[in-house]
């Protein structure tokens, strides 16, 4: 019958109209500034730099290898390598970034920097309320603004951070064993030389 579909449609919209006043699950709107939902664990916005310990400057995992700078498709990362070295998490002397800047007005949140980093030093943040009144310097984040503690990383991406910590601990054990073996070898060699001399 002609017009049947129209009546069906009108009934459906009437059900929605009145239903939205009575059943809460129909209204899925989250009224954002007042109401918030926690960001999903897999959410990603812009990258940040992870540091261990309490001091962000000495604890930065980044060794200024500049792989991320080279891989970044929109070229939003600027790294200036330091001239001196300082010990990293494994106790090995390494360079550190004298400057590390990300222009988040250019960044496209592709996560490639995170994928290529061999040191687990750069990760994706979930912070999204980054509006500023200054679109040039306000959106150019420097080393200090980018540095976030490992505890923060655990807070926003718990599963991922635990896996990263386990990997780093394994690496450290391996490096320690290697160092010990090397030390033993050196000591043996020294002993042998001493023996030869005697």
């Amino acid at each position: 019958m002609l017009g049947e579909g129209i009546l069906k449609g009108l009934a459906e919209t009437a059900r929605n109209f009145f239903g939205s006043y009575f059943s809460a699950e129909r209204l899925t709107t989250v009224e954002y500034p007042e109401q918030r939902i926690a960001p999903f664990e897999a959410a990603r916005v812009f990258p940040f730099l992870v540091y261990d310990g309490a001091d962000w400057q000495s604890g930065l995992r980044c060794v200024a290898c500049q792989i991320c700078e080279k891989e970044c498709p929109p070229k939003c990362i600027v790294i200036v390598k330091s001239t001196d070295k300082k010990p990293d998490a494994l106790g090995k002397p390494q360079f550190y970034p004298a400057r590390f800047e990300i222009d988040i007005s250019v960044c496209m949140s592709c996560q490639i920097c995170v994928e290529v980093c061999p040191f687990e030093a750069i990760k994706m943040n979930t912070e999204f309320e980054l509006s500023t009144t200054d679109r040039f310097s306000g959106l150019l984040l420097d080393r200090k603004q980018l540095a976030k503690s490992n505890e923060y990383y655990h807070q926003i991406h718990p599963t991922e951070a635990t896996a990263v910590d386990a990997r780093l601990a394994a690496d450290k054990i391996k490096a320690d064993a290697k160092a010990k073996a090397a030390a033993v070898a050196v000591a043996a060699q020294a002993a042998a030389i001493a023996g030869e001399g005697a």
Binding site: L2, T13, N16, F17, L27
Partner: protein, 391 residues
């Protein structure tokens, strides 16, 4: 007391005018009524925009505007300030004079229609003998302003929108007129007050509104279809067609001129609902004889707002038609039904009182509707869409 409440606006006007010298009185009397109409309906427009947005939101399971004022009721004020302070851009190649005149002509023509609508007992600005004719004359001149806007903008979208609007409005103007003619045949008058008076009597507590007769019901449905098309409301909003034509004939309008177009559209909706109320729903008369103590103007505006609600409901439900479906529907389905309805109205008049005329008229109308609907659906002129290339 109740009589006084019913006539409160009329008495108020008389009281105000009585302070003036006698020669001035008739002029000021008219001016006061005009001022009332010109201030009341834009206020109703402001209220309707927020109701519409809230209603559509609820139909789509959203909340709707709720930021400006409690529950968003002050939203129209914010919108008004915004459109007043916005830059008014006129395209360099536009015909500036016509571009400026189009929204003014629209609003003036629409306001003229309110002059003949009886909004309550004794509440009509100009009680003309040929009020209905005057109304349709004014309604037809809104098409002119739409075409003025489209043509003067010198923009292909505006022009296409205006062409569509004119084609659509002329097609449905025929339907609108022919569905109203049945009422004129029955009431025997073109005066809208007389048409209301003809419906304003009761038997067994129920009113003799024209919608409660077979020809009146069919006429009302066709009038409602034509009114929706005439005011360019969804599902007949092809002239605006925001997914195809940016905004149709008012693409090149900004700031307050756009607000005037917006106002004109809503005022046209009010006035055409008011006319439908007057012709088929008994105007300002009460729906039951025991409710006649409620002031007549309350009934008129309740019926008006109910029609507006139906407009909003339809907008929230139906998708837009295609141009060929629109034209086929008007000329091949609604117009023949209208002509048949004229015949049925004549039969009703001459079959005399009794159940026979109810049976005969109902059978003819329902039979014709069923047969034509079935036939047209089979020939795919109207009804479900067919996709020739997409499948």
């Amino acid at each position: 007391m109740i009589d006084h409440l019913d006539q409160i606006f009329v008495l108020l006007r008389h009281w105000l005018v009585s302070f003036l010298p006698a020669p001035l009185q008739p002029v000021v009397c008219v001016l006061l009524s005009v001022a009332a109409i010109v201030s009341l309906f834009p206020a109703l427009f402001a209220l309707t925009t927020v109701f519409e947005r809230k209603g559509l939101a609820r139909i789509q399971n959203r909340i709707g505007p709720n930021r400006v004022g409690p529950f968003g009721v002050l939203q129209p004020i914010a919108d008004g300030i915004k459109s007043l302070t916005k830059e008014d851009i006129v395209p360099l190649s536009a015909d500036a004079a016509v571009h400026f005149l189009a929204p003014v002509v629209l609003v003036v023509a629409v306001f003229m229609g309110f002059a003949v609508l009886p909004m309550g007992r004794n509440m009509v600005l100009a009680d003309m003998n040929a009020g209905l004719l005057f109304y349709f004359a004014m309604g037809a001149s809104t098409e002119l302003s739409v075409f003025m806007a489209g043509w003067s903008s010198r923009n292909k979208y505006s022009l296409l929108g205006a062409m569509r609007a004119v084609a659509q409005m002329i097609s449905y103007e025929v339907v609108l007129l022919l569905s109203s003619v049945t009422v004129v045949m029955m009431a025997g008058s073109l005066s809208l007050s007389k048409i209301v008076a003809a419906q304003n009597h009761y038997s067994w507590g129920l009113p003799h509104w024209y919608i409660f007769t077979p020809w009146g019901c069919a006429g009302f449905v066709m009038y409602a279809i034509a009114a929706t098309a005439e005011t360019n409301r969804s599902p007949f909003d092809l002239p605006e067609g925001e997914s195809e034509l940016v905004a149709g004939y008012h693409t090149e309008y900004s700031g307050f001129k756009f607000a005037l177009f917006f106002l004109g559209e809503y005022l046209a909706m009010f006035s055409i609902s008011g006319l439908g109320t007057t012709l088929f729903l008994g105007g300002w008369s009460a729906p039951f004889s025991f409710l006649t103590w409620i002031p007549s103007w309350i009934w008129f505006f309740s019926k008006l707002m109910l029609s507006i609600f139906v407009f909003i409901w339809l907008r929230g439900t139906l998708p837009r038609l295609r141009q060929d479906q629109l034209m086929n529907f008007a000329w091949k389905f609604v117009l023949p039904m209208c002509l048949l309805n004229l015949l049925v109205a004549g039969l009703w008049r001459f079959l005399g009182d009794g159940w026979a005329r109810w049976a005969v008229c109902s059978v003819i109308l329902i039979g014709a509707y069923g047969a034509m609907g079935w036939g047209e659906m089979r020939r795919k002129h109207i009804g479900p869409r067919s996709y020739r290339y997409a499948e």
